[in-house]
Symmetry: C2
Subunit: 196 residues, 2 copies
Amino acid sequence: MNSVLTTSDEILASARTLITSGGYNGFSYADIAKVVGIRKASIHHHFPSKVDLVRTLVIRYRQDAEVGIAALEQDAPDPLELLKTYAGHWAKCIEDASRPFCVCALLASELPALPPEIAGEVKAFFRFLSTWLTSVMERGSREGALSLSSQPRVEAEAFMASVHGAMLSARAYGTPEVFPAILAPTLQRLSPTVAQ
Amino acid sequence: MNSVLTTSDEILASARTLITSGGYNGFSYADIAKVVGIRKASIHHHFPSKVDLVRTLVIRYRQDAEVGIAALEQDAPDPLELLKTYAGHWAKCIEDASRPFCVCALLASELPALPPEIAGEVKAFFRFLSTWLTSVMERGSREGALSLSSQPRVEAEAFMASVHGAMLSARAYGTPEVFPAILAPTLQRLSPTVAQ
DNA sequence: CTCTGTCTACCTTCTGATAGGGAGGCTGTC
DNA sequence: GACAGCCTCCCTATCAGAAGGTAGACAGAG
């Protein structure tokens, strides 16, 4: 028992970092063992199989997102502000290289090769994110806080795709600034036109 | 020597399919051997190492894209039409599940864990695609065939991000229709406004 | 005879996983 | 208080299979 972080939390944290960098098949128990400072076998005590580990990780990831978003909605309920904050969150993560990619976005790219238990959780994350964004778009449209040119659902999917694609580009170019540069016009377009 | 396809071409083709599904670490020489109907050792005759194989694959992929795009520009030089055709190409590939993901987009997602020789080629593909899209945006803006709300370069990056993000969503949901649904508003927005 | 393409056989290292044991901490009973 | 029993956590040792890769032989074509 560590005072600040459980061993199983440390395992999950390093697994997230490793997945973020190379995907499901891009890391091994040996890699985690090295980072956490523990033996391979000890990881199996906490997570019997790799599938258990990653499934737990994805579920936890979604739960954290749910909590974070709920807090966000309370702090700044303005739809446009919510979208900006969401994009800003990722811009910051990419810039300081702390979590430069969404775990689920990466796992989704290799979805066909993923164990079904994990694939299901990844899909659930996408549904969750899409549902939230759709609700933000709907509310923004209703309140006049967002100017939509399509149905809320479509706008939500397009926004999510922009974020994921921008993450990819930032990684491909190796330049974090690309992310906000891509998102800026999208957010601009969603802003209610202040007169003409 | 096969009458229609070289063995090395068959190897490259099956490698592309396998990478498209599970990424660089998601396939092995054994997998290719099974598909092509050859022994592992024979693959090493054509491509000494896995890095050789995938680097060749990515280079070939970019060359094919260059040729395809050059042909496209000759057939239909209208900028908006070019973008629609490009998006339509992927929509078709995703729909008939023939090549439901861009190899380089997938490899880019695991870029930090990729052998540097391959990472370099993937980056080169992104630069190439971005350069082409920027040129299309520039020309479209000059000719009035596209209505841009940002600089051509930014519009190009945003378009590319939308395409990649939409691919990811189509894969995550398992519904091909998502791709064109996301791209439609983007293309709509780029269309020159026919009056009000 | 040589070159190309394939084969069998083998090697090394890594991978996820298991068995079994030991140290330490709680808890209930005498 | 002492002790037994159990639980948690980590260890060493080991495994079977898959990974990427090599060596050397053989068949056919030029």
